[in-house]
Amino acid sequence: MNSATVVSSEKLVPSSPIIVGSALIKVSFLDRITNISDLLLGGLLHLLRLVIFGSVYSLLLRGNHDSFISAFCAIAFAQTVLSIERPLLCTRIGEEIRDDTISMHFLKPTNYLFQSVATYIGRSLPTFLVNMFFSIGALIVVLGHFPLNGTLSIWALILLVNGFVLNILINAFFGILGFWTHDTSGFAFLNEKMMLLFGGLIVPLVFLPQIVQDVALFAPWTIASAQPAKVLTHYSENDLLKVLIFQLLWIIGTWAISSYLLMRGSRRLFRAGDL
């Protein structure tokens, strides 16, 4: 046999998690963008929501242009952060645990959580980008100009990406709870509504009662979308730094807890032997 045709199995497994992660993201991204009409319709639905909120807040804050700009920017930001693919990762992981297909993933050389999150980021990225494009368009059309300057736009992008990743990790965390519950769709609904309540999807954080603002100050849903939106519309360097640190802490924390739960949960797995 020609030695050139023999490929060592070790060579097939890239060693760096960055290479594996980016490969997974790229493959699922390319798979997702094959259906353009669906992406565009999803984007138009996002635009419709923004336009509805635009008219709601323009009616409410008539005569107070600055408040209207802040409210509309905050809503656009929060709605973009939530741009993730359906079925949600929480539901998907829950189903894989329930029907036992998760055990097949354990045979693969990559970490299950890493693989699921990277694949899901790749699948959600086109939706995220399309919705971001429509959000920017809506801001320019409704306000007549883009409200953020150059530096603030870069910070907005960093905060957006962090919020997007944190939102996915929260979903993964709830999905892994499927080792202890029969169905995770309840957690998915609960997570969505917590995002709605504390994430500023309908009412920006500054308009919520003070007590709710205090309770939700460091909650992951608030840190993912509402707090960054507040920082961008009421800018201060101190607050920006605080939100960035909390976003990173939540990302690391959620990852660590999810990994621990996965390790504990996988011990409960019972394979029937019908591979």
């Binding site: 669906d38 319709l41 509805i52 008219s55 009616l59 009662p209």
Partner: protein
């Protein structure tokens, strides 16, 4: 008429069987139903917080939101509980798996629509009925009759428009996700104050996504007791039903089987 009543009976029977089957797993039954009730309550809490900050939006207050939620949650349950397969029509067409429904003696569209039972919508029904009783006690006792009538009217509209869009998969390939997006676009305006839709948005919601025909007309019938609004909503429902029937007749001729039925020779 007897044909119609047999369909109604069968629909209820299928719903009952779905409920009985879900009842076998009690814990799951309670959790799924309860989480949907909590889900609706949390959504309503957002609007309570909203109207805590802004007392009125163009004359729209928390009272209108309560009535709208009572009507819409009930209508949503009226659609999805018996016709849980509504979001799967386009997928069935795309996968060529309509054959199993086409070979059955009853209407194929009715069979597709009733082919799936979604338990969590029971939570919407409980929330809707609870809210209906609340608004009837708090504002006007007549609402206990008007809200269910408005809900039936809205439910029929949602069902027919959503079915119409799902059936477009007979003409457009890979349309399943797009039709699901459309369904949520149709449902979304029902959760917002109806007075907020002005100008271009209003035109859009009367034409491309006809949510205002479906939601606003029955809502005005419920709140203002104007019979004309009820008849407008009914007329729209009849019109869209005719469109669905025509689309189905034309579209089925273009349907390509997925060859999923195997005949046993022996």
């Amino acid at each position: 008429m007897s044909r119609f009543s047999s369909y109604v009976q069968l629909t209820f029977l299928q719903m009952w069987m779905g409920l009985k089957s879900a009842w076998r797993y009690r814990t799951s039954f309670y959790i799924e139903t309860l989480t949907m009730v909590i889900n609706d309550v949390l959504l309503f809490c957002v609007w309570i917080l909203f109207f805590h900050k802004f007392s009125s939006l163009n004359g729209w207050t928390i009272r209108e939101t309560q009535i709208l939620f009572a009507m819409h949650a009930t209508a949503f349950a009226f659609v999805i509980l018996p016709f849980g397969g509504i979001l799967d029509v386009a997928r069935n067409i795309n996968e060529g798996s309509l054959d199993q429904f086409l070979t059955q003696p009853r209407s194929s569209l009715w069979r597709i629509l009733t082919s799936h039972f979604r338990l969590n919508v029971l939570g919407d029904l409980i929330f809707g009925i609870g809210m209906m009783i609340f608004v009837a006690f708090h504002y006007q006792w007549q609402l206990i009759f008007f809200v269910p009538l408005g809900a039936i009217c809205e439910a029929w509209g949602i069902l027919m428009v959503a079915t119409f869009v799902q059936l477009l998969a007979l003409f457009i390939s890979r349309f399943e996700q797009a039709s699901v997006h459309y369904f949520w676009a149709l449902e979304a305006p029902a959760l917002y104050p109806q007075n907020a839709f002005v100008g271009g948005v209003r035109v859009f919601l009367f034409t491309v996504v006809p949510a205002l025909w479906i939601v606003k007309m029955p809502f005005r019938f419920v709140t203002e007791h104007g019979v004309n609004y009820f008849f407008i909503a009914i007329a729209f429902d009849i019109f869209i039903t005719i469109c669905v029937v025509l689309l189905l007749k034309t579209g089925l001729r273009r349907y390509e089987s997925g060859n999923l039925i195997h005949v046993n020779r022996f």
